[in-house]
Symmetry: C2
Subunit: 164 residues, 2 copies
């Protein structure tokens, strides 16, 4: 019955560390969800761990759509609708790719984890398919992004005073 105050330091014992991780992960995701509900503000959490096959991301796709809907209802953003449509489509591809990835990742966990970290630091929670068959999906995502980017660059170069 010793529930002493815990010191904020790395937990050496493997099993208690994992237990603590699982409990606190749940807590963190719950908190993030509460901020969205209470304040209507986007808060996301991304967790990488050796215990989960894929990085854990909140919000889920449904959460993202909820945020998108909110933004759509803001005034003055009608001209952005095409963006959001494209974005939802891209998101669909990401989800599909994520599922493929989950199936394929069976071993090589440590290397995969390193890869995930590398990808994250460069492009955030976009999970890139690692198998050759998925590279088309990957190329597609990048193309989509570059296209939208170039469009916005052109607008700027054209001297429009609309800040993208």
């Amino acid at each position: 019955m010793t529930r002493r105050k815990v010191k904020l330091a790395f937990i050496v014992n493997n099993s208690s560390r994992k237990t603590t991780y699982k409990k606190r992960k749940r807590g963190l995701l719950k908190k993030a969800h509460e901020i969205l509900t209470l304040c209507g503000i986007y808060a996301g959490a991304i967790i990488y761990s050796p215990y989960d096959p894929t990085p854990e991301v909140w919000p889920t796709v449904e959460g993202m759509k909820q945020v998108i809907t909110t933004f759509r209802n803001l005034p003055e953003i009608d001209r952005h609708n095409n963006m959001f449509n494209q974005q939802e489509f891209v998101q669909q591809r990401i989800t599909k790719a994520d599922k493929l990835l989950l199936k394929k990742k069976k071993d090589n966990r440590e290397v995969n984890l390193t890869e995930d970290m590398y990808r994250f630091l460069q492009i955030g929670q976009l999970t890139i398919p690692a198998g050759a068959r998925d590279l088309n999906d990957l190329g597609y995502l990048v193309d989509q992004y570059l296209n939208s980017l170039n469009r916005r660059i052109q607008i700027l170069k054209g001297g429009s005073d609309v800040e993208i």
Copy 2:
């Protein structure tokens, strides 16, 4: 002295919503930090709000470097060192670009927020400079990413059984 249990629903009152947001944001980031310290596991939080000029990201650059160091010390990842070097360099560019962005964002908050959301859903916490002068930085980042991507695609096509 009425500290009643709060119902989990959108807070209509503007000022209390903002106050709650600020308090909870601090709590969320603290929790994320604790998970890293206690469990050595990466946990990041990303918050978009109309109250902050730029999306709030945890961990900071120092936190990322800490994680990178951990990964470097894993066995079997020596061949990934170049990746991490490149990645740190890219991260530096991102930080620099973020600072520029912070200076330039003075108004047009709502549109900017929409843009941030759009970018986030596509490429995560990479914050893209919105001003024309920053577009070179942006192009550079994308080029860097594409180069690393192409390299990995070539490796796969070459039939190596090393899963990148």
